[in-house]
């Protein structure tokens, strides 16, 4: 199953879980599955049907914006990375 890597800034929403395996065939389905397991996290990533402008989502090394967006297919060995803008310093 694809794995979603949760960034530190969002782990308060996943009970500090860093990696979440989901049964999904697209990024959209993966995020929906993540939200079912950890309610509320999708609202931090998406506005309606679009990725928020201060969030980037990658499948492997590729930005989904350069692929098929939320419809980008994911396979069993794929890793979905979420990179949010953070501000601490």
């Amino acid at each position: 199953m694809p794995t979603i890597r949760i960034p530190g800034a969002l782990r308060a929403l996943t009970a500090n879980t860093a990696d979440v395996e989901v049964d999904a065939a697209t990024v959209r389905a993966a995020l929906a599955a993540l939200d079912r397991r950890h309610p509320g996290i999708a609202a931090k990533l998406l506005d309606d049907d679009a990725v928020k402008p201060f969030i980037r989502i990658y499948v492997g090394p590729e930005d989904i914006g350069a692929l098929e967006g939320l419809d980008t297919p994911v396979g069993a060995r794929d890793e979905i990375s979420i990179i949010p803008a953070i501000a601490g310093g």
Partner: protein
């Protein structure tokens, strides 16, 4: 060589000390004073510094180590940028303010100045590398976020030292003409688990307003 360090806190401390020791003439910019809650991570300061402005204190620490630095107790803004940073070979941002990160990046893109944007939170952080001609910070994150800050979400003390050190090394490389990481972001998800970063190279956005204002050589 000259560098501007924006932020004199958790990231700004190691940044300034490293760049000062490397021979950069520094301008350090930060509007804040030292607070008790800073001391666990801003180890350039001591309890005796509480209530004192950070930028001059950090500049003095650089000078005590033989470096050249001047501290400015003010917020870095685009309005003052040409005077403060116009002659810098590199500008490094390590504040905890999302708006300032974008302001520094946008100015640097327009001015053609190499830059590094650092951030740290909880157990990880990132450092983004920018240089003329490369995709920029606004190509990556389109607008300032309501992102959590260290003050709100906390940060493990040593994390800022690690991220600040990486940002300083990247800044030194940029100032010396090494552009191999321009348009990339070094992501440290959790330094307790993985010391190595993921280095993500990202593309320029065709509609990026900051790139549209970039200086044409």
């Amino acid at each position: 060589m000259k560098a501007t360090v924006v932020g004199a806190g958790g990231l700004g401390g190691p940044l300034a000390l490293a760049l000062g020791a490397a021979g950069f003439e520094l301008r350090i910019v930060d509007p804040d004073v030292v607070e008790d809650s800073n001391l666990h991570r801003q180890i350039q300061f001591a309890p005796a510094d509480l209530g004192q402005p950070k930028a001059p204190l950090l500049a003095a620490a650089v000078v005590r180590r033989g470096g050249v630095a001047k501290g400015y107790r003010m917020r870095w803004t685009a309005e003052d940028a040409d005077d403060l940073s116009g002659d810098s070979d590199v500008i490094v941002e390590g504040s905890d303010d999302p708006e300032t990160k974008f302001a520094v990046a946008d100015w640097a893109v327009a001015a053609g100045t190499p830059y590094v944007i650092g951030a740290a939170l909880r157990y990880g952080g990132n450092a983004m590398v920018g240089a003329p001609g490369a995709s920029c910070y606004r190509c990556l994150f389109e607008e300032p976020s309501p992102a959590a800050t260290c003050a709100a979400a906390g940060v493990l003390g040593p994390v800022v030292g690690a991220i600040g050190g990486v940002a300083a090394a990247l800044a030194i490389g940029l100032a010396r003409g090494d552009r191999r990481y321009a348009g990339s972001i070094f992501v440290f998800d959790d330094l307790r688990r993985h010391a190595a970063p993921r280095i993500v190279r990202y593309a320029r956005r065709a509609d990026c307003p900051a790139c549209a204002r970039r200086k044409v050589a």
